[in-house]
């Protein structure tokens, strides 16, 4: 608690889980959740470093912006996903491979 290590470990684990989710989920929305996990891990790192390293609180501010980004990203991603769902009635990314090689 008074050491940065636990936070970093949480960040790292969530990051790994995020990456895992991105790769593991078949559903586009699921992948989006993975991305949110990754961004959260980024945030906790920034905030932790802001407390333990930085003399100011730059990290926290960056986190705010990352949250904003996450929101915007999610909005657009969902819009795209909806579009695809409308056309193909699926959001299964394994079936979205018309373009390859």
């Amino acid at each position: 608690m008074n050491s940065i290590i636990p936070y970093l470990i949480v960040g790292a684990i969530v990051f790994v889980l995020g990456i895992f989710t991105i790769v593991y989920k078949k559903n586009a929305v699921g992948i989006l959740m993975g991305i949110e996990l990754v961004l959260n891990s980024v945030n906790i790192n920034f905030i932790a470093f802001a407390k333990f390293v930085d003399t100011g609180i730059h990290g926290q501010i960056i986190s705010i912006f990352v949250i904003i980004l996450a929101a915007a990203e999610a909005a657009i991603a969902l819009a795209i996903i909806l579009n695809i769902y409308r056309m193909k009635a699926t959001v299964d990314v394994t079936q979205l491979n018309k373009m390859k090689h």
């Binding site: 992948i31 390859k100 090689h101």
Partner: protein
């Protein structure tokens, strides 16, 4: 003098140029252009000749040269060199050439490419004269090649006949093999001495710039050219085939002049022949003399007999050069030019007659075959008589020119053998004398089979006529030139030319090698020479007569059953009849081998060089998962193969692009991990 020589030389060239471009449009297809050109050359040569006789100086020489190529260290001058040697040669060439030109007017009449024939003849005369006149080996080589081309063109004159085209090609390529040596010899000489000019070379050898083994090598290499051109063993195979050309050509080129150019060359370079080189020359010549004679015995084509006889006689001359009897060899060149040209023209006359007879009777057989002839002496008296004269001359019967020269050669070889401690060298006179018997034998075989006895084909015989004057007159001229008188002037000694102009004016060239070494290369004392000469004369007359007698026994009186004898010595006969299978041998080894080799290389080029990466692409395909385009054979080229390879790699890499975004992310992740792992470990 020089101007005169230039006229002699360049007039035929002028004639050639006119003929080749305008010949067709000129009256009589322009034969008169060539004839008059060579006629003038002949007349001019005669002037030179007479001047020479009247000046009577053995050391006479005139030279003139101009720079031709001159860059840095590399200089070649071109010039003319006239001495007695050259004048005699000019005389021979222009005489025979002139007569052959005249003869051709009759012989070639009606030929569709009449004008071209004369053009070629002119070109040949030009080249041959140039060969005689040039003062440097390079120029000689150039002309040497040109006469070769003329020979090629004229042998292949009836190019529609495959055999003629083949013969021309064979002649040229065989000669090229000889020229390979010649050229290398030139390179050796130039590298050592820095000049091609004969007198420079002479000086160079004297100064020792070229000595020892290299000198011998240079001599032998230059001699290689002569082997090719003079059809010496083992490059003799082309000359018999060269008989595919029109007969006047055979007479001019393949009997009198061009083939003798080899002898002329050896004479010209004799000053630089070391003893070893001379031995090589002598043995090749001697062996050829005998070897070719044995083939001539069994041939049935009249011109082939003469061809082998030519080879054999050239062998004599070469042998003479080898044993140091230069003037004798050269003498034989002169006399041989006359009578052999005569023999060919005579046979041409016969063939001409046969040809007409066959046309009349619509028989399609070989007009050259002596088995179809017989008894022609009544129908063609002029031809017969002249032919007989030539035969006597070649057989070496006294009172005829051949006797004088051949006797000198045989005497020379004998003297050589006697002067040497090694008895093996008696082989040379042995070659010479044996060949002399055989020569007399096969020549009379031809005479008997052609002119005596009963006609073997009466149907043809009926239509045999004497040839027109334009053909017989040259024969007569040549016949008269085969009589001893012309060569022994002013002494009229029928059995020795020692007192004649020839022996007086044509001297054995001084050997530069001797000068370099400080002692003579070859020393033959007066005494030996004399005794050899006397003995040689005796033996040669005896042998010649024996040969003639044998011929009559075999073919005229038929005391010996030729057929039975042939059966008895079948293997020997077969060997001789098939010319010792040399053509077959060369065909099986050199020609086939070369073609096979070429095909191997072409295959190599096509498949290996071109397919090297293709091959790796092939392997790649096996290893990579991608197996498409498998059916594409091996044949795509290098670039294509590189393309294939890269494309296959591309194809494999493309597979990573699965179209699934998660694999993309994984791929990037893997790459990232890979980078970190590689760098950190």
């Amino acid at each position: 003098m020089i101007t005169l020589a230039l006229y002699i030389w360049l007039l035929p060239l002028l004639a050639f140029t006119i003929q080749i471009f305008l010949g067709k449009r000129l009256p009589r297809k322009g034969d008169w252009v060539s004839v008059s050109a060579i006629g003038i050359s002949f007349a001019l040569s005669l002037i030179l000749f007479i001047r020479m006789l009247s000046n009577y100086s053995p050391d006479f020489q005139v030279t003139a040269s101009v720079p031709w190529i001159n860059i840095g260290q590399f200089k070649i001058d071109m010039g003319i060199y006239i001495d007695n040697f050259a004048i005699v040669m000019l005389m021979v060439v222009t005489t025979v050439s002139f007569l052959v030109h005249i003869y051709s007017i009759g012989y070639m009449a009606g030929d569709p490419l009449y004008n071209r024939f004369f053009a070629y003849l002119s070109l040949f005369s030009f080249s041959m004269l140039g060969l005689v006149l040039f003062d440097n080996l390079f120029g000689i080589f150039v002309m040497w090649e040109l006469v070769g081309i003329c020979s090629y063109l004229l042998i292949g004159y009836y190019f529609e006949k495959d055999s003629a085209a083949n013969a021309g090609k064979k002649a040229f390529i065989t000669n090229r093999i000889g020229d390979f040596g010649f050229l290398l010899g030139l390179l050796v000489v130039f590298t050592a001495i820095g000049s091609f000019n004969l007198s420079d070379v002479y000086q160079g050898v004297v100064q020792g710039k070229l000595s020892g083994g290299l000198l011998t090598a240079a001599g032998i290499l230059l001699f290689c050219g002569a082997i090719g051109k003079s059809a010496q063993f083992p490059l003799h195979v082309w000359l018999p085939d060269a008989m595919e050309g029109p007969t006047p050509v055979s007479a001019l080129i393949h009997a009198a002049t061009m083939v003798a150019a080899g002898v002329y060359l050896v004479a010209r370079i004799s000053f630089m022949l070391s003893f070893d080189a001379m031995l090589v020359v002598a043995y090749i010549g001697g062996f050829t003399a005998l070897f070719a004679a044995t083939i001539a015995i069994t041939q049935n084509d009249i011109k082939r007999v003469l061809a082998y006889s030519t080879i054999s006689q050239l062998g004599y001359m070469i042998m003479a050069m080898g044993v140091g009897a230069y003037s004798a060899g050269f003498f034989h060149l002169v006399t041989h030019a006359m009578f052999k040209a005569g023999l060919f023209l005579g046979s041409g006359s016969v063939i001409h007659a046969m040809h007409h007879a066959m046309e009349k009777t619509h028989v399609h057989e070989d007009p050259n075959d002596i088995r179809l002839m017989g008894g022609f002496k009544n129908k063609m008296p002029a031809t017969y008589i002249t032919f007989l004269v030539f035969t006597l001359a070649i057989s070496g019967i006294p009172f005829f020119s051949g006797f004088l020269s051949k006797d000198a050669i045989l005497g020379g070889t004998l003297a050589f053998a006697m002067s040497q401690s090694n008895p093996v060298h008696y082989l040379l006179p042995f070659f010479g004398f044996t060949a002399a018997i055989i020569t007399a034998f096969y020549m009379f075989r031809v005479v008997i089979k052609t002119f005596y006895g009963e006609p073997k084909r009466p149907d043809l015989y009926e239509h045999i006529h004497e040839s027109p004057k334009v053909m017989t007159v040259p024969l007569m001229v040549l016949a008269s030139l085969s009589i001893f008188i012309f060569y022994t002037l002013p002494s009229f000694n029928p059995i020795s030319a020692e007192q004649g102009w020839y022996e007086q004016l044509i001297e054995k060239p001084a050997s530069a090698v001797s000068a370099q070494l400080g002692y003579p290369v070859l020393e033959i004392s007066e005494q030996i020479e004399h005794s050899a000469h006397v003995n040689g004369m005796m033996i040669s007359i005896l042998f010649a007569l024996t040969g003639i007698a044998l011929a009559f026994l075999f073919y005229f009186w038929k005391k010996v059953d030729v057929e039975a004898l042939t059966e008895k010595i079948k293997p020997l006969y077969t060997l001789s009849y098939h010319k010792y299978f040399f053509d077959e041998l060369y065909n099986a080894t050199v020609v086939k081998g070369l073609l096979a080799w070429n095909n191997i290389l072409a295959w190599f080029d096509f498949h290996v060089i071109d397919g090297i990466v293709n091959g790796s692409a092939f392997i790649m395909r096996h290893f990579s998962s991608f197996t498409g385009r498998f059916d594409l054979g091996f044949i795509d080229g290098l670039v294509n193969a590189v393309g294939d390879l890269t494309q296959d790699v591309g194809q494999s890499v493309r597979k990573i692009q699965t179209g699934q975004v998660q694999y993309y992310i994984l791929g990037a992740l893997a790459g990232l991990v890979l980078i970190i792992v590689t760098v950190l470990i």
